[in-house]
């Protein structure tokens, strides 16, 4: 019935000016990226010597750039396709792990009654601002050497350097504060009556999570997952640092950053590379965008 209302409301609401404005903004927003797309299919000389918009008066198309970037490796440099799969292997677990742990923690912070709950919550909130760069060295030491205090080994050297594990753990840690903060905002909006009713029915804390909280929070989880996916996929610093220089685990951004800078030229490969790295996040966004409708912060509407 609400869809009916909606469509009725729609016609009443539509304002041609608003629509036109939205279209104009959307166009403005797309032009820079569009320039990248056009540049990526132009030959090298053309990119260096004329603006991308001249493409329309003098179209020269070359898919060589993509061919070069995707499939041509060198003696020491695997082709971009491999980095693509590395990125995939980094990103999926680095989305699943932090979100799972964050939903758990958000549930605890929203619904368990214990002393210091608010303090913990706000500490976590504040942790968002800890700059990533300053955590690199201590975390790396932990992964590479383990942790010992006064000669007593607390965490042994696990020998995981150069694998995906440190990258996953690091992303999990860095993703947690914001995930907990946002999911907590969502979870605490679940009506108290629902929770009380479940309790009356004899559900324990675990059953309640499985049967009530988790199903209710799926849209929020899905929409946060999109953001976490984008952040991890586009991350450079964590992949670079915790990959410990191993090409077998380096994500696409690391390769892309390597292509920037050393040479003034090479734009034809760079533009193609940049575009390839953008394709997956876009697919993810389009595939999951309907979750935004009931999404992440839906709950924070009062009422």
């Amino acid at each position: 019935m609400s869809t009916l209302n909606r469509s009725r409301a729609k016609s009443a609401f539509s304002s041609p000016i608003a629509s036109a404005a939205a279209v104009v903004i959307a166009t403005l927003w797309t032009i820079p990226t569009f320039g990248l797309l056009i540049s990526s299919i132009r030959p090298e000389q053309a990119i260096n010597n004329s603006g991308w918009w001249t493409f329309f008066t003098n179209p020269e198309i070359s898919f060589e750039n993509y061919e070069k970037v995707l499939f041509q490796g060198t003696l020491i440099q695997p082709p971009m396709v491999q980095y693509f799969f590395n990125s995939l292997a980094i990103t999926l677990p680095a989305v699943v792990f932090p979100i799972t742990l964050a939903v758990f923690a958000a549930y605890a912070l929203a619904w368990f009654d214990f002393k210091g709950r608010d303090f913990i919550f706000f500490s976590i909130f504040a942790l968002q601002v800890v700059p990533l760069q300053l955590t690199l060295i201590p975390l790396l030491q932990l992964f590479a050497k383990g942790l010992s205090i006064n000669g007593i080994t607390i965490i042994p050297n696990l020998g995981i350097t150069g694998t995906y594990i440190p990258i996953w753990i690091a992303h999990t840690i860095f993703g947690l504060p914001l995930a907990i903060f946002l999911l907590h905002n969502f979870l605490r909006q679940i009506p108290r009556e629902l929770v009380e009713a479940a309790k009356v029915d004899g559900a324990g804390w675990f059953t309640m999570f499985r049967a009530l909280i988790f199903p209710l929070s799926i849209p929020a989880i899905a929409s946060f997952a999109i953001f976490q996916f984008l952040w991890v996929w586009n991350d450079l610093l964590v992949g670079l640092t915790f990959g410990a220089g191993s090409k077998e685990v380096a994500p696409m951004t690391v390769r892309l950053a390597e292509m920037v800078g050393t040479r003034g030229g090479g734009w034809e490969v760079l533009t193609a590379g940049a575009f390839v790295s953008t394709v997956v996040p876009l697919i993810v966004f389009f595939a999951l965008q309907r979750y935004f409708v009931r999404g992440l912060l839906a709950g924070s509407v009062k009422g």
């Binding site: 539509s14 959307a26 742990l101 675990f206 059953t207």
Partner: protein, 335 residues
């Protein structure tokens, strides 16, 4: 002979398969363990569950945050009172340095401009677009286009905006920057965009707003969709104007979401360094704290000054935290 072509191709196949296997195993193992924990925990007695719930739900995240963020944060605090290689204490020297050196004062000023403009502009624009497209047909296309920059890495964004801002001083060479070309077409004199302060800082801010507006729009538009139809329809029947409906109904209804969006973008902005680093390298008076901190710590190897800047960043966020605390307290008492 084409050696260069084949060796990577072989190693490619060698690594792609294990990659996918690792991926599958990691996720399956993780979810398997959680499943097992739930199966066992749900069978436990209430008393056991009461203890177990903290261990299962809260402890893993808390532990990770403790070693991954709290410990480094404390370390940073200590280092900020020590010299370049953290071998002796120097008191407040690093902080005095930060507030007296003219270059760092510019850095602090720029950071302030960033944290004021980016959240307000992105949230404002995001809000406007969300409202304009709320009941529009084919809004999905518009929204997707505006969201697109979110999907682009900072490395990619740097490449994209180079084609906008680049400036060719030599009139004999063709202009490949979009902005300069438009200026020339209008017969205005193009400027060297990234060179002139404070214009350059504003142009860098445009890049950040370009990225963040999509975030604000998506979240705010989700919140708007959740305003009960009855309320908007009642307003419509009353003949309330579009603008009044926006200020009187929409904004108050999604106020909490707006605060969350503003907060998240502010924190993201305080930490931004990639844009500045790739586009100007912090030169021409465009530097911001996060970039200078990276440069002090890792380029110039001065952990003391680098850490002091990090702590300043942290202190800067405290007002925002306090505001959010009060906000949450308020809501808790309301319920």
């Amino acid at each position: 002979m084409n050696v260069a072509m084949m060796i990577p191709q072989r190693s490619l196949w060698d690594t792609v398969l294990p990659n996918l296997t690792i991926l599958g195993i990691a996720i399956a193992a993780f979810l398997g363990v959680i499943f097992l924990i739930f199966v066992l925990a749900e069978r436990a007695s209430n008393n056991v569950q009461n203890i177990l719930k903290y261990i299962v739900f809260l402890a893993p995240a808390a532990l990770l945050l403790l070693i991954g963020l709290i410990y480094p944060a404390i370390r940073t605090l200590i280092f900020s009172f020590m010299n370049a290689n953290s071998s002796e204490f120097v008191g407040f020297d690093n902080y005095t340095w930060a507030f007296t050196i003219p270059e760092i004062r510019i850095v602090l000023r720029n950071t302030l401009i960033w944290t004021l403009l980016v959240p307000i502009l992105s949230t404002g624009l995001g809000l406007a677009i969300a409202y304009m497209t709320d009941r529009m047909k084919r809004a999905a296309v518009i929204k997707s286009l505006i969201f697109m920059p979110m999907a682009i890495s900072f490395v990619g964004a740097g490449i994209i905006w180079r084609f906008v801002y680049t400036y060719e001083a030599n009139v004999n060479r063709p202009e490949i920057g979009l902005l300069s070309s438009i200026w020339r077409a209008m017969e205005w004199e193009p400027r060297n965009w990234l060179l002139e302060a404070p214009l350059n800082t504003l142009l860098l801010i445009v890049v950040m707003v370009w990225i963040q507006t999509g975030f604000a729009m998506v979240v705010l538009s989700a919140a708007m969709r959740n305003i009960p139809d009855e309320i908007t329809e009642a307003a419509l029947l009353d003949g309330t104007s579009n603008f009044r409906r926006f200020t009187r109904i929409t904004i108050p209804m999604i106020r909490a979401t707006i605060v969350v969006v503003l907060t998240t973008i502010t924190i993201g902005t305080l930490k931004v360094f990639d844009i500045v680093r790739t586009m100007t390298g912090g030169n021409f008076q465009t530097n911001v704290i996060a970039n200078e901190m990276y440069s002090q710590s890792f380029r110039q190897m001065n952990y003391g000054t680098g850490s002091a800047l990090a702590i300043i960043l942290f202190v800067a966020i405290i007002p925002i935290i306090i505001y959010n605390v009060r906000q949450l307290r308020l809501e808790r008492t309301e319920r």
